[in-house]
């Protein structure tokens, strides 16, 4: 028997790739964020030798890992910031009439394959940065890299879910979600040490963006401040997921309580 989610996602993929011309254009357009992010970093390093204690290669690595994690989350759950559109179209009511969890249906309701361009570009930058940095490779560090990317993607996905939950209360919440998620994304792609202490605390412990790339990169490069903390991304991701799911449940209750 076919798994319902597999069927749903496959259906979305097919619908998307039907128009091949525009699909190719959108893949290219999605690279804009990669180019501008990388360009920003390049301009900074043209003026200063180090950023938050990291040299150019290390900073690029933080950027690239953050970028890959974010693009993976965006690929899978990026459409969650359009929750108000789903609410207005009555799609959420249709979900409520089906025997599957609403969040699972919403996540599998779309997949943005066109954003895959960013994942590829980010990976290419990360590989280049890794090659030109002198990482003291051990099996553990290989595992750390894999764990970091997965946890980072999970963390961003949880941001998307949590931010979507808030939109049950805010009618026009897309802007809110955007600032929250993209702000988190921005923070994750920079060494956390460049921020003032309050902001750094915010992005480490409240919205743990520092766990996405900065702390793991410190550990990867054996830089001070990393150590065991660099391994804690899964914990951070799990914590954010718990908050996001609680928020989602409350949001859905608010929706069925308030009606559309």
């Amino acid at each position: 028997m076919a798994n319902p989610y597999v069927v749903l996602v496959r259906m979305r993929m097919r619908a998307q790739t039907v128009y091949r011309g525009s699909f190719a254009v959108e893949i290219l357009a999605s690279l804009g964020a990669t180019v501008s992010g990388f360009g920003e970093l390049y301009v900074i390093f043209a003026n200063v030798p180090a950023l938050g204690g990291l040299d150019f290669t290390a900073a690029v690595l933080v950027f690239a890992i953050g970028h890959v994690s974010f693009s993976l989350a965006d690929l899978v759950v990026g459409h969650l910031d359009a929750l108000p559109t789903y609410l207005r179209a009555g799609t959420l009511d249709a979900f409520l009439l089906r025997p599957l969890p609403v969040l699972a249906q919403l996540i599998t309701a779309d997949i943005s394959l066109r954003r895959f361009g960013r994942t590829v570009a980010g990976t290419a930058i990360a590989v280049t940065a890794l090659a030109s940095s002198d990482v003291d490779w051990t099996p553990a560090k290989g595992a750390l890299l894999a764990v970091t990317v997965c946890s980072g993607a999970a963390l961003f996905a949880a941001f998307f879910v949590g931010a979507a939950a808030v939109q049950f209360w805010l009618v026009e919440g897309t802007e809110f979600t955007a600032s929250f998620v993209y702000g988190g994304n921005y923070a994750a792609q920079f060494p956390a040490s460049v921020f003032a202490t309050p902001v750094r605390v915010l992005f480490t412990f409240v919205v743990p963006a520092a766990f996405v790339a900065y702390l793991p990169v410190l550990t990867l490069l054996d830089l001070p401040g990393g150590g065991a903390l660099g391994w804690c991304s899964p914990v951070a991701a799990a914590a954010v997921w718990i908050v996001a799911l609680l928020g989602w449940r409350a949001g859905l209750r608010h929706y069925t309580g308030a009606g559309s």
Binding site: M11, A94, L96, G257, G259
Partner: protein
């Protein structure tokens, strides 16, 4: 056990009460018309019965389940169609929607295939089952929606204004299909509508709701007896004829164009269109005829006046 059991159900939106102290039961296998003017509280009731909306107070049990708390269990046992809102994937053909719904309801591929071909055949979907939903006409889409709601063989079908905006032919096809499905599968039916024609053809019991309150619960004949939910047959004659008075079971309610068009009102259950026609045929030659269903707003108004 009742398929629907509602007691003292109430739902408020802020200061506005959409459903107020509603109580009724529907036994399994029954077909109930849920009628009322726009904004009378029909959709709100349906949302509470299907787990989309939480009641402010009172209880609603559908298939013996609590709709919100046991939403997923309930979803396997009911089929719901909102005439105004689509539950299909608009950029994909109906066939893909059926496939996805089959997977969602965990039906085997053989079961999906068999059920799909039955529905395609009975609802006459063959011509457009491979066309993306967004390109379908309203009538085609609604037939697709009904098929989608019935794919998993629910024991209760809930339809909210399924025929709104449909042309005569699409309406008729849908009514014939629903009658057939009920006869074959014993599906219970709750039909919210403000079309008296739907109610007449598809249901044996009527609930009239007005301002969120139950205003009437009984058969159509009883409703007609109480408020005179009369139908009108409009006869266009080939040439002007004297007033068609004294046709058994009817009342002449209008003569236009010097007798060329005459309107007879009659109560359902007392006579039939065929009987009226046979009497009229001996007195004038009928060129064309149309039947006007009673207007639901008028019925509700008279319900309060009586």
């Amino acid at each position: 056990m009742n398929i629907i059991s509602v007691s003292n159900l109430r739902r408020a939106f802020g200061a506005k009460t959409a459903v107020d102290d509603l109580s009724f039961d529907v036994p399994p296998g029954a077909a109930v018309g849920y009628i009322g003017a726009n904004g009378a509280g029909k959709s709100t009731t349906i949302k509470m019965l299907t787990g989309i909306l939480k009641p402010t107070s009172g209880t609603a049990l559908t298939c013996g389940l609590e709709p919100l708390r046991q939403r997923r269990q309930l979803a396997r046992r009911i089929g719901v169609v909102f005439g105004q809102r689509s539950q299909l994937w608009w950029d994909l053909p109906l066939r893909d929607s059926f496939r996805a719904l089959g997977a969602i309801h965990r039906l085997g591929p053989d079961a999906v295939r068999a059920r799909t071909s039955e529905l395609v055949d009975r609802l006459d979907l063959g011509d457009f089952v491979d066309t993306p939903v967004r390109q379908l006409s309203l009538g085609q889409r609604i037939r697709g929606e009904v098929a989608a709601a019935l794919l998993h063989g629910p024991e209760l079908l809930i339809l909210d204004e399924p025929t709104i905006g449909l042309d005569v032919l699409s309406k008729e096809r849908l009514r014939v299909f629903l009658t057939e499905q009920r006869a074959q599968h014993g599906t219970s039916l709750l039909l919210a509508t403000h079309d008296m024609g739907d109610v007449r053809r598809l249901t044996e019991r009527i609930l009239v709701v007005d301002h969120g309150r139950l205003a009437f619960d009984g058969t159509l004949t009883e409703l007609a007896g109480q408020v005179g939910a009369e139908r009108i047959v409009v006869l266009d004659l080939t040439e002007p004829a004297p007033d068609l008075v004294g046709v058994p079971g009817t009342r002449l309610v209008g003569v236009e164009a010097g007798g060329l068009r005459q309107r007879l009102s009659f109560a359902p259950g007392e006579t039939t269109v065929a009987a009226i026609l046979s009497v009229v045929a001996s007195r004038a030659q009928v060129h064309d005829l149309t039947i006007e269903e009673p207007d639901i707003e008028a019925v509700v108004r008279r319900l309060y006046a009586s």
